[in-house]
């Protein structure tokens, strides 16, 4: 393992840490809304990661303008990909919140440990 490289890729490290934090929240917190927050943290971590990979030091936004050479632009693909990724994240969150509303109507709680059932969610 190359530690100096890890220090250099701080964006990637932060996104990995955020990813793990989100996963921990999803797995451990009993509150369903907190679990959803965990999911969104994980999603944000991945978006940060993808956008960081497209970065070019001193690069320009990929919009054709006079005086900006094509070789100096950042990679446009990751940005296009996370736009779709964000929409997917929003949609998943919307469905999850709708489920939470239904669960709250039905059981009167959002605590996973209080929702009757065989094992925990």
């Amino acid at each position: 393992m190359n530690f100096s490289r890890i220090f250099h890729n701080l964006n990637y490290v932060v996104s990995a840490v955020l990813f793990l934090m989100g996963l921990y929240t999803v797995a451990v917190k009993p509150n369903l809304i907190k679990k959803l927050m965990g999911l969104n943290i994980m999603e944000t971590a991945v978006f940060l990661f993808i956008v960081s990979t497209g970065m070019v030091k001193g690069g320009y936004a990929p919009i054709v303008e006079k005086g900006v050479k094509a070789s100096e632009m950042v990679n446009p693909i990751p940005q296009a990909l996370i736009l779709t990724g964000i929409v997917v994240a929003v949609s998943t969150t919307a469905v999850a919140l709708a489920l939470c509303i239904k669960i709250h109507e039905r059981f009167g709680t959002l605590d996973a440990s209080k929702i009757p059932g065989k094992e925990e969610i």
Partner: protein, 496 residues
């Protein structure tokens, strides 16, 4: 529009029908069913038309937007994509026809147009997932069928269904994010999203560690979607509590998408040239095949102790995903044939099982296995369909399930993996117990009165179940064309 544009129509037609379905629902709720049948049958026709083209020319490609592959999105129908497209569109049509009468029981009237819209969306997304040749497009279609299936599990609004759907959503969303993460890893060091292009560039990459991490994350994430043993917890809840047509489509088709995801990553992307530069590939295959073998044993034994019919069938799905993945990841040519053949056999058998379970709920509200006494005499077609399909699920000749297990065992012997032979045989024995217990209750218990009248569900419900169960028999008897086609396909894969 000629045959050359058929690949895109496989997704574009059901998506268009889905987009316009709510308008019909606004006008008249009853109009949604014929509308979606029209969309699904047009798609089924197109997929069968593509089969004839496929058998003539082999792999079919289509450039969306006219862009050449690494730059644009390329639809690429290879053998397994074609096979799954045909299975999805045919089984999807039968299950849709079944759900017409059934769904009125479980879903509020105001929500019925959205039920059909979601059905068309999940149908289109699965087709898009199987035929795409682009990694990110794979992710997009995976999300569409995931989101729709979370909602379809909970569409009845029962408390247990909501709970199961939320659990499914959490695990599914985590696996989706992991897929996106691994796409990011792979893209950042390969620079392409086209699967064939990636597989060409993989052997020369200097970033072997990153690429290996992406492989491991991909496999783990798709394993959640496929519900392999350590991460199968969501499946029994979600599949048993969903409305029965949805259980059928989830168990028969949606979990196969997880298997297809593993197949795409392990063979289509990483399979060519990469294995020689890394030994993670083969050890990962070994790991997945162990997980699959454990899902066979654990799924089958959990199925035995269940009292409710649908929960039992759901656990049986865990076991069958095990058979399929064991065949695919054991890296034996015959085993691969058995695994791929079992995708078709299990899709038909399991869809039939869930449709029969749904008919029993529809007619008599029977959920427990003990309540099924004498059903064989009052509902002969439904119970007969179950009995025939259970031959295939257990794996007895002359059904399709037998051929699948035969080739799977052949593969185990080819590789000399006798532990797997024992586990597959144990799983089959257990499945014989849990299937024939139900058949026994249906046909050999209960009052033996000749005065009992036949009291069947409507034909739109028993005909799809009967067709699916006959399909397992026909496929078992005339298996040669499909087996030889699969063998030919397996010959092009890196398995020896």
């Amino acid at each position: 529009m000629s045959v050359s544009s058929f690949p895109i129509l496989l997704t574009a037609i059901p998506l268009s029908f889905a987009a316009l379905c709510p308008i019909w629902g606004m006008w008249k709720k009853e109009a949604c069913f014929p509308w979606s049948v029209a969309g699904v049958s047009a798609t089924a026709f197109i997929s069968w038309a593509l089969v004839s083209k496929f058998s003539a020319v082999g792999t079919i490609g289509y450039k969306v937007g006219g862009w050449a592959p690494p730059w644009g999105i390329h639809i690429r129908i290879d053998f397994i994509g074609m096979l799954l497209a045909v299975v999805i569109s045919s089984a999807g049509l039968l299950i849709l026809i079944y759900s017409w009468r059934y769904i009125v029981h479980e879903v509020e009237e105001a929500k019925i147009p959205y039920y059909y819209t979601l059905y068309l969306l999940i149908f289109a997304a699965m087709l898009g997932f199987s035929i795409t040749g682009d990694l990110f497009n794979l992710f997009v279609f995976m999300e569409i069928f995931s989101i729709t299936s979370y909602a379809l599990v909970a569409v009845s609004g029962e408390g247990k269904a909501l709970r199961a759907a939320f659990k499914y959503l959490l695990m599914g969303a985590v696996s989706s994010i992991t897929v996106l993460f691994s796409i990011a890893f792979l893209y950042s060091v390969i620079g392409s999203l086209n699967m064939l292009d990636i597989s060409k560039r993989l052997p020369n990459t200097p970033y072997v560690v990153v690429v290996n991490t992406a492989l491991a994350l991909f496999t783990a994430a798709f394993a959640v979607k496929a519900a392999v043993f350590p991460v199968h917890m969501w499946l029994p809840d979600a599949h048993s509590i969903a409305p029965s047509p949805i259980s059928a489509i989830l168990s028969a088709l949606v979990i196969k998408m997880g298997v297809l995801g593993i197949f795409r990553v392990v063979f289509t992307i990483y399979g060519h040239g990469f294995p020689s530069t890394s030994n993670l590939w083969s050890s990962l295959c070994g790991f997945v095949s162990w997980a699959a073998a454990f899902s066979i044993v654990i799924g089958s034994s959990m199925a035995i102790i269940q009292r409710e019919l649908k929960v039992m069938i759901a656990y049986s799905s865990v076991a069958h995903i095990g058979y399929i993945l064991l065949g695919i990841c054991m890296l034996a040519p015959r085993g691969m044939t058995g695994g791929i053949f079992n995708i078709v056999a299990h899709a038909m058998g399991k869809a039939c099982f869930f449709l029969v379970a749904g008919s029993l709920i529809y007619k008599h509200n029977m959920k427990r296995i003990r309540e099924l006494r004498g059903i064989g005499r009052t509902m002969p077609v439904t119970a007969g369909a179950f009995a025939i399909a259970s031959l295939s699920i257990v794996g007895l000749p002359p059904s399709a399930g037998f051929m699948a297990k035969w080739y799977l065992l052949w593969g185990c012997f080819q590789k000399g993996r006798y532990v797997f032979v024992a586990m597959v045989l144990l799983g089959s024995l257990l499945s014989a117990i849990y299937c024939f217990r139900v058949v026994y209750y249906m046909f050999f218990t209960g009052p033996r009165l000749h005065t009992q009248k036949v009291d069947e569900v409507p034909p739109s419900m028993y005909v799809p179940a009967a067709l699916l169960s006959l399909g397992t028999l026909v496929l078992g008897i005339y298996s040669t064309p499909l087996i030889s086609a699969i063998n030919k396909f397996v010959g092009s894969l890196p398995v020896k």
